[in-house]
């Protein structure tokens, strides 16, 4: 119907949109990782109350170290999904996905009190990945977008799990991994082109 109107529809995915969206994504990532920082404090107080072991708390502290990176990668991918699949995702929906990723750490803390850390980790990863995949599927009606997010989330949580168990070598491998991730992200933004004032992912 809109195509019949005398004026072409106002382009949505402009450079200005990208700028605004980047700032929004960064701020929500920042706010949620600050809030998730309290999971650490909570873990300390649970240890003091004798509900949790010291080694388990160390594992949770290690896991929360990677929260900023994990949330930022998913948020930026959602932005690229929006441009590539031309399905708009609004701020609240971004916020909900970011919240579910923060909730991951709280759930992990709660579950790790009752069962071994790795069992808790697998269960919570399954819960978070299933929830977000279904949500993205519902938002975009696209199997491809859903698969992309599922693979990304599983990859992220698997990498975090590996880094947590690697111990002292984790930092070296983690920072080399980050270097690769930034290079890949740069590659994708280079494919972002402006056509008729509108961004397209080529």
């Amino acid at each position: 119907m809109e195509n019949n109107s005398p004026f072409p529809p106002e382009p949505k995915y402009t450079m200005r949109w990208l700028g605004k969206q980047t700032m929004f994504v960064l701020i929500i990532t920042f706010v949620l990782s600050v809030i998730t920082g309290f999971v650490d404090n909570l873990a300390y107080s649970r240890v003091n109350q004798g509900l949790m072991s010291d080694s388990c708390r160390d594992l949770i502290t290690e896991t929360t170290t990677y929260r900023f990176v994990a949330i930022a990668i998913v948020m930026i991918t959602l932005m690229l999904v929006e441009i590539a699949f031309r399905k708009s995702i609004n701020y609240v929906q971004y916020g909900l996905i970011a919240c579910s990723m923060s909730l991951f750490y709280l759930l992990l803390l709660a579950m790790a009190e009752k069962m071994p850390f790795w069992v808790a980790y697998i269960i919570v990863t399954g819960m978070t990945v299933a929830l977000n995949s279904l949500f993205v599927k519902g938002l975009t009606q696209s199997d491809k977008a859903m698969r992309l997010i599922t693979v990304l989330l599983v990859g992220e949580y698997a990498a975090t799990f590996m880094l947590v168990y690697l111990g002292s070598m984790a930092l070296l491998i983690g920072s080399l991994l980050m270097f690769g991730i930034i290079a890949v992200a740069m590659y994708f933004t280079l494919k972002l082109k402006v056509e008729n004032d509108e961004l397209v992912l080529k």
């Binding site: 701020i27 070598m169 402006v194």
Partner: protein, 379 residues
């Protein structure tokens, strides 16, 4: 499209800087916690081996008297140190074995008259860290050292002592961190020599002679008529690298800010819009530099780690600018700027006394460049 408001963009970039500094702060936290882990690991390695050793000057006194005995007239002490590194994972600690040769003389005239005519030679040092004690030769006698809680002692009869009592012995000790030898005598000469990774020399006076060649070192202290004096050599472990990483993160804000300003000027000069997302990725690469620096510094010396990390980040950002703007000039300018900034930051790290001066001069130059760039342009 063409009339982008740069005022708004500057505000957004400022916000981005703030968020990026938050992630730099996370890297700082990681450096801090790893320093703690390194300290506690090396503490647990060295606690099995033994901590710093403090050995006092031997004193001669009455066995029944609790008053401190007399100090030697002449005192020579030569410590031959063999240091070795113990590893646990990536953490290391330096420990040493030392063979200490002591010789000197006491004057009998200074010695008080003892009730049971028995004199005792006492030497205070951590007895648990003694590997072997050689026999003590004193005034023609050959005695065995007796181990006590706070050191060694040997008892000998007073009557047969000559006017000048000479003594000599060899002790083998082990320890870590530092070796400290007392030099309270009318005339003392202390030599600490051997092999160690990074020795540093302290003492109540600086050493009269010192030399460090490769891993071999030697230092000699000469003291006259001194009380409470000592000569000491300490052996560092690799904790200072974490402090260097933490200090380098202090310059992160300046680095990000100057890079952003340069990218924005490139954008204005070329008239090509660079999205905020690309700015963020450049900033993230700059923060990642510190992460790489921290992880490399644990496996090599700090200088090489700095070189390796900057050799990864500078080409990444340069290639990105090149492919994004299709301008060789812009890419080379960026490469030049980043290289200069990293070199200046490294110099500031090494010359910490001049860091403030260099930092403020750098900001002045940046401001001047900014004014020069914007004087003929309407932004």
């Amino acid at each position: 499209m063409k009339n982008i408001s740069y005022g708004k963009k500057v505000v957004y970039l400022g916000l981005q800087c703030f968020v990026l500094m938050f992630s730099a702060f996370i890297v700082w936290g990681m450096a801090y916690s790893r320093e703690e882990t390194n300290r506690s690991t090396s503490r647990s390695i060295t606690s099995e081996w033994g901590g710093p050793v403090t050995m006092t000057t031997p004193t001669l006194g009455c066995s029944t008297d609790s008053v401190a005995g007399i100090t030697p007239l002449q005192y020579r002490c030569e410590a031959a140190v063999e240091a070795q590194s113990l590893h646990r994972g990536i953490y290391e600690a330096e420990v040493y074995n030392a063979s200490v040769t002591i010789s000197g003389t006491f004057s009998k005239a200074e010695l008080p008259v003892c009730a049971d005519s028995l004199a005792t030679l006492k030497l205070t040092l951590p007895a648990a860290q003694l590997v072997r004690t050689g026999e003590l030769r004193i005034a023609g006698h050959s005695l065995k050292w007796k181990k006590e809680a706070e050191g060694l002692s040997a008892t000998l009869p007073c009557d047969s002592l000559p006017e000048i009592i000479d003594f000599a012995t060899v002790l083998e000790i082990r320890g870590s961190g530092a070796l400290r030898i007392g030099s309270e005598a009318a005339s003392a000469e202390i030599t600490i020599a051997g092999t160690a990774h990074a020795p540093s020399f302290h003492g109540t006076t600086p050493p009269a002679q010192r030399s460090v060649e490769g891993s071999r070192f030697s230092a000699t202290w000469v003291e006259e008529d001194s009380t409470n004096s000592y000569a000491s050599t300490s052996f560092l472990t690799g904790v200072d690298r974490y402090q260097k990483v933490c200090r380098s993160i202090k310059y992160a804000f300046m680095l990000i800010l100057l890079t952003f300003i340069c990218v924005m000027f490139t954008e204005i000069v070329l008239g090509q819009v660079i999205p905020m997302l690309n700015y963020f990725l450049i900033g993230a690469a700059l923060v990642l530099f510190y992460c790489l620096l921290l992880s490399f510094a644990e496996h090599m010396t700090f200088g090489y780690a700095y070189l390796a990390a900057s050799a990864m980040i500078i080409p990444l950002i340069t290639a990105y600018m090149w492919l994004m703007l299709r301008s060789r000039k812009a890419a080379l300018t960026m490469a030049g700027l980043l290289t200069a900034l990293y070199v200046i930051c490294y110099i500031m790290l090494c010359l910490s006394d001049y860091a403030l001066l260099m930092g403020s001069l750098l900001l002045f130059v940046a401001l001047a460049a900014l004014m020069y760039g914007s004087v003929n342009r309407r932004i």
